[in-house]
């Protein structure tokens, strides 16, 4: 007996299938610390920020919640992992878990605050959370090192074998692997029936509620998950750089990641990765040309990008047309 899948199911299945270029991309990405040895450090940074952007995409792209304080989870994960490595145990993978868990808990707590209110309210609430954490970290300087940052985080070797080297290759490979795993998990999540309900909530909350989707529960779950992923990114950051400092909570972090995500494209997970690559590389290149005024060119890029149309960035063949 042939099972008949409806047109709706077919369309959902189609979007969830792996495109041909995806494995190619990931293979190249995972191999890049060896292919491009000198750039291992920036590859590491890009991987971490990409993970952070992907976590924000879960919130922004798939549920429509505008958050300017996502760095709260990044920072919480970072400090948790750093403190864990310093005082308990220097194993990176366990520390990663700790960071992720800590951020997940924080996310669960915070998710109660973002359920109500308009876009602007949520923006401010999330922002407020991040700022409060910043001040807390500053005040508890016995624990966090205050504005000097938490120093003396020495990481053990990954999987007991691979030491973090000066070239940054091990760090890059480590971050990329974590990115890959989390990305695949996220992908699975959004291309599932659960994910479909999320998009329904994003597109029209009222209607979603009307057809019986438990909107608040969904939002809470997604927000908590995204917080956990952001915490993982934070833990990676603390582990690969060997310290944690206050600016992980700063407004710039949340703002930068939002910019990256919007540049790359909200709502298709790869947007976070693409945006992270574009933004970071641009920053690096422009900054080495003009260390003081690179923000001008960045701003110009953003303005032009929006005026021309965001979708066009990743479609170079449309650049010729008006």
């Amino acid at each position: 007996m042939k099972s008949v899948t409806s047109l709706a199911q077919q369309s959902v299945l189609r979007t969830s299938r792996m495109k041909v270029w995806e494995p190619v991309f990931w293979l190249l990405a995972l191999a890049s610390p060896w292919l491009a040895q000198q750039h291992a450090l920036i590859i590491n940074e890009i991987a971490i920020v990409a993970l952070f952007a992907v976590s924000l995409d879960l919130v922004l792209g798939y549920t429509g919640i505008v958050s300017l304080g996502h760095a709260a989870f990044l920072g919480f994960g970072a400090y948790a992992a750093a403190l864990f490595a310093k005082w308990v145990m220097p194993d990176p993978l366990v520390g990663l878990l700790v960071g992720t868990l800590a951020a997940t808990v924080l996310g669960a707590v915070c998710s109660t605050t973002i359920l109500r209110g308009s876009d602007l309210t949520r923006l401010m609430v999330t922002l407020g959370m991040a700022l409060i954490l910043y001040e807390l970290a500053n005040k508890l300087d016995g624990l966090t090192g205050g504005s000097d940052g938490l120093q003396g985080v020495v990481m053990g070797p990954v999987l007991g074998r691979y030491e973090f080297d000066l070239m940054g290759q091990v760090a890059a490979w480590y971050s990329l692997s974590v990115l890959f795993v989390c990305f695949m998990l996220a992908r699975r999540l959004v291309h599932s029936p659960f994910g479909a309900t999320l998009m329904a909530v994003r597109d029209n909350r009222l209607r979603a509620m009307a057809i019986g989707i438990p909107v608040h529960a969904r939002l809470a779950v997604v927000y908590t998950t995204a917080a956990g992923v952001a915490g993982a990114a934070g833990a990676l950051m603390a582990q690969t750089t060997g310290f944690a400092s206050l600016d992980v909570f700063a407004l710039d972090r949340s703002a930068d990641v939002m910019l990256m995500l919007v540049i790359g494209g909200v709502g298709w997970l790869y947007g976070g990765v693409a945006g992270a690559i574009v933004f970071k590389l641009m920053h690096d290149v422009i900054s080495s040309i003009t260390p003081q005024y690179w923000t001008f060119w960045m701003g110009l890029f953003l303005v032009v990008l929006v005026m021309v149309g965001r979708e066009r960035l990743l479609k170079p063949w449309t650049w010729g047309r008006t």
């Binding site: 495109k19 041909v20 270029w21 190619v24 991309f25 190249l28 890049s32 292919l35 491009a36 040895q37 000198q38 750039h39 450090l41 920036i42 940074e45 001040e135 500053n138 205050g146 504005s147 000097d148 940052g149 120093q151 000066l166 070239m167 940054g168 950051m237 750089t241 060997g242 310290f243 400092s245 206050l246 600016d247 710039d252 298709w268 790869y270 690559i277 900054s287 080495s288 260390p291 003081q292 005024y293 690179w294 923000t295 990743l314 479609k315 170079p316």
Partner: protein, 388 residues
Amino acid sequence: MDKRFFIRAVASAAMVACVGSAMAQDKFKIGLILPMTGPFASTGKQIEAAARLYIAQNGDTVAGKKVELIVKDDTSAPDVTKRIAQEMVVNDKVNVLAGFGLTPLALATAPIATQSKTPLVVMAAATSSITEASPYIIRTSFTLPQAAVGIADWAPNNGIKKVVSLVADYGPGIDAEKYFKDRFTFNGGQVIETLRVPMRNPDFAPFLQKVRDLKPDALYVFVPSGAGAALMKQFAERGMDKAGIRLIGTGDITDDDILNSMGDVALGVVTSHHYSTSHNSPANKKFVAAFEKANAGLRPNFMAVGGYDGMRVIYEAAKATKGGSGEALLTAMKGQIFESPRGPMFIDAQTRDVVHNIYIRKVERVNGQLYNQEFSTLKDVKDPGKSK
């Protein structure tokens, strides 16, 4: 998304990556990492200008090798500083790292210096503990404790017995508060209250009001260079000077960079610091004249002198080791004694920190401009933070 695009993107990324740097190795490379954007951009500007001035005055070859100055902006974010430092060490193979506008930036980079055995010259950051973070760190700027004890010694002898301390709530501020309090109390004074101002503070009003209500003999202040002006304005506006409260502090509040535009409110403020643009020595006069000429009249401040002297230390060490690096270069930096625009100074071979004179100065109008006029000198002050 389109398959074609991604393959193209990945291919171009791979090409970019493979354009690796094949640099000639007969160069002496200095990696200068500064905050060129953000709230501390003026520090970066001053240091870069001073570094370039030194090169212009002393030539761009040392020990037969061409000097390459690589300047990068770290936007005051420690992980960026660390990454840039790592890249400079690994990719550009710099002989020495320099700059570091803030304490966390220097502390974050310390492990890189140790791991790669690259000397690191701190030209701006001022917390005492920095030089202990790595055996490869040399400092040519100053430490807050040095500046703080200067005024803590001067004040009790000049009618100031009760003081309220107001500092910015971060590393150097806490250092400034602690060392002032310790020395001042030791000298028989009394610090009746210690207030800490959050870094991101738009309004000093409530803090100053509190000080006013406490009625001390003087208010001791440390805030990073930009905020000093605002504080002084509000100090005057609140009528504190009329209420008989004097303003003292470390030289950061009368930063030469903006002192002249502070106006009359700054007159009479007594501070202690290691450098004043009006320091009366031939070396300084030459330095100031050359700096102002090369930078459209910009006055050099203590950040600039930290950069200038840092370059001097690097150059002399390079000459002594014939353009070397690593351990040898570090050793050649330790123990250097010379005349800086600030006065005589040397790099302590034990602590690798700077030892120089601390001057007590008062703001006065000279030739129509405001300057910190030095009137008293404490010679060869070592960092009190270390002699414990």
